[in-house]
């Protein structure tokens, strides 16, 4: 899909945030994913042109970071944490269960284009293990069945909302725009903290009353 004048204006806004324009390469690559769904050749050429770089310089950056995808992912990209703690708490079983349920290998996409699957490294939510992410939103304390229910809800077009995130799950492209620094106006949605985040505070308050 072609980039409109409005897209170019958005890219200029992103570039203007930085004292030196090359620093805008990462948000611009997120923006390309918001527009095209992954880092397309067209997107790389456009970023190179905007930043006065060679396309090879942009590709070198795009290929270094795992969140930049070189082929399309699903409308809902599901990641299962299989770093040590989550893996041991059940992440390995969740990933195996989803692979079987969806008939996918790691980095695979369902034929309907709805769901893709990836194993992830630590997502900084270990007190909510095992953790599943969808389009980089938190799904805390998952098990094999809840993860299967989640991907089924995605394929039915009505995804279960995140545990600590907006009231409904945005698409991959929509969330890529947020990562490009575009405010989608949804910061006020969802909880301020989950129960484990509040545990110490709760115990401290109980203690001071006792």
């Amino acid at each position: 899909m072609a980039y409109t004048d409005r897209d170019i204006a958005t890219m200029d806004t992103i570039i203007n945030r930085y004292p030196r324009k090359r620093s805008a390469i990462m948000p611009l690559l997120h923006f390309v994913q918001a527009h095209d769904g992954f880092v397309t050749g067209e997107g790389i050429e456009l970023v190179a042109k905007k930043l006065e770089l060679e396309t090879a310089e942009v590709s070198a950056v795009a290929t270094f970071y795992t969140q930049y995808k070189r082929k399309p992912v699903g409308e809902y990209h599901v990641g299962v944490c299989t770093n040590t703690l989550c893996a041991i708490m059940g992440g390995d079983e969740i990933l195996a269960g989803l692979k079987e349920h969806l008939g996918l290998e790691n980095d695979g996409v369902t034929a309907d284009g709805k769901v893709s699957l990836e194993h992830l490294e630590c997502n900084a939510a270990c007190d909510y293990a095992p953790v599943v992410m969808a389009n980089w939103e938190f799904y805390d304390n998952q098990n094999v069945q809840s993860a299967k229910d989640l991907v089924d809800s995605m394929r039915a077009g009505n995804p279960i909302p995140p545990t600590r995130g907006p009231n409904s799950l945005p698409t991959w492209k929509e969330n890529s725009a947020v990562l490009a620094g575009i405010n989608d106006g949804r910061a006020g949605e969802g909880v301020q903290a989950g129960d484990p985040s509040l545990l110490g505070l709760k115990i401290a308050k109980k203690g001071s009353k006792a």
Partner: protein
């Protein structure tokens, strides 16, 4: 009496804690207004006097870091906050930013003023969209309130603050790799010296601080250095966030004075899951050598953990019970380091690959007892031989686990594979009691 001291987390239980209104209800942005009436050097001195040390792992004194920025050099200075929280087990900064992004912004205003920076950045990991939303909105609200932008707080001082979002690379949590990434390059560590204080972002004097370090500053300005240094131990001052995860009844965040022990934290939180015993744990993420039940009373401060042979790190207490195969845990961490090695330095790039191959063989029953010596020899050749500490971190779980659990490694050789039932370790294997 409770040994917990919620300061950063004091108002996380209020549903609007992340909004500017929620933050101002409890004195938010008053510390910044106060600091901007002080001399910048006096702000640095106050933070030095408080004894605040970096909460990102290294424990370097924050005020001293600020003091290294050359003044009167007619160069741009930068403040960069490291919010690339990715060390396995570490989960304190993301809940902090989800619940209260404004405390970081206020701390950044104070720090930027102290080091005379007119531009500040937050480098946030890319895998947390809702945290990005909350930070972006908080920054916009702070601009609207006149706390960022031109002439902030009517002081004549200007400050631009940009949220920069990463794209999934653990190495960017290393401060010089972070700076390369922020400049628009592949995130690979730089050789030091020069240190960022002299040649950081765009080769200009730069302070790089962890989220929790900067978020601790408003309370220090508001309550004074003595208030802060009254908490903690002799050389490890103040309160901090401890993150408890794994085979415990109640995982979560606990804000306590530095020096609390795991035994105390377990007593407060409900202990190890019923019917099981503590086997091993990390004091501060996967790069810190593992501990066992023998270390339950080790004071969790910079000196205490170090004296016991590990590092305080990020205070990420990952707890594993006797159902856990230590080799499986270590293999998974090793696979992580192999994947995240940026490839710049040969000992780390090649070494982590070899470590994984040998550990996989052992896990699959294809290893020999001699492999243990080979692992230790490899670790010896990785440790201290690269630009950054990623390779060093990769050796920590291996050397420490062989030290404490050599027999378990050997059992994989004699048993012809892993003798553990991995399902027994899962959360689903036993029901967890509620908080």
């Amino acid at each position: 009496m409770s040994t917990l001291t919620p300061v950063l987390s004091a108002h996380w239980d209020e549903s609007d804690s992340f909004t500017i209104a929620g933050y101002k209800r409890h004195g938010g942005y008053e510390a910044a207004a106060k600091a901007l009436k002080m001399e910048p050097d006096a702000v640095i001195q106050l933070v030095k006097d408080s004894g605040l040390r970096g909460r990102g792992g290294a424990g370097f004194p924050t005020g001293m870091k600020w003091g290294f920025i050359p003044q009167g050099d007619n160069k741009d200075h930068y403040l960069v906050v490291n919010a690339d929280e990715s060390e396995p087990g570490t989960c304190k900064d993301m809940p902090l930013l989800l619940a209260n992004p404004h405390v970081l912004i206020e701390g950044m205003i104070i720090a930027s003023y102290a080091i005379r920076a007119k531009y500040a950045f937050i480098y946030l990991r890319g895998e947390v969209v809702h945290v990005a939303r909350r930070l972006q909105q908080a920054i916009e609200d702070a601009y609207k309130a006149g706390h960022l932008g031109k002439n902030i707080f009517g002081s004549g001082v200007d400050l631009e603050l940009v949220l920069h979002i990463g794209a999934g690379a653990y190495i960017c949590g290393e401060e010089t790799a972070l700076l390369d990434s922020l400049e628009g390059f592949r995130g690979q560590p730089r050789l030091r010296p020069p240190f960022p204080a002299i040649a950081g972002l765009y080769a200009r004097p730069t302070v790089v601080n962890n989220v929790e370090s900067i978020a601790s500053v408003p309370a220090i300005i508001a309550n004074g250095a003595e208030w802060f240094s009254a908490m903690g131990t002799e050389k490890s001052k103040g309160m901090t966030l401890y993150s408890l995860s794994g085979h415990v009844v109640n995982p979560g965040q606990f804000e306590a004075p530095l020096g609390i022990t795991l035994r105390q934290l377990l007593e407060l939180s409900g202990g190890i899951r019923p019917g099981h015993q503590l086997k091993f744990w990390t004091p501060g993420g996967s790069s810190t050598p593992i501990f066992t039940a023998d270390h339950l009373d080790t004071p969790l401060d910079y000196e205490g953990v170090s004296a016991a042979g590990s590092m305080l790190g990020t205070k990420a207490l990952q707890i594993f019970d006797e159902t856990t195969c230590v080799l499986r845990a270590v293999l998974r961490w090793s696979e992580f380091y192999k994947h995240e090695s940026c490839g710049k330095c040969t000992p780390c790039r090649e070494g982590t690959t070899w470590l994984v191959q040998i550990l996989r063989d052992l896990e699959n029953g294809k290893g020999t007892a001699a492999d243990l010596d080979k692992l230790l020899d490899l670790c010896d050749n990785i440790m201290g031989r690269s630009f950054c500490a990623l390779g060093d971190g990769a050796t920590s779980p291996i050397t420490s686990s062989i030290k404490f659990f050599r027999d378990e490694y050997i059992a994989h050789v004699t048993h012809g594979g892993c003798p553990f039932d991995s399902h027994a370790s899962t959360l689903f294997a036993t029901e967890r009691a509620g908080a």
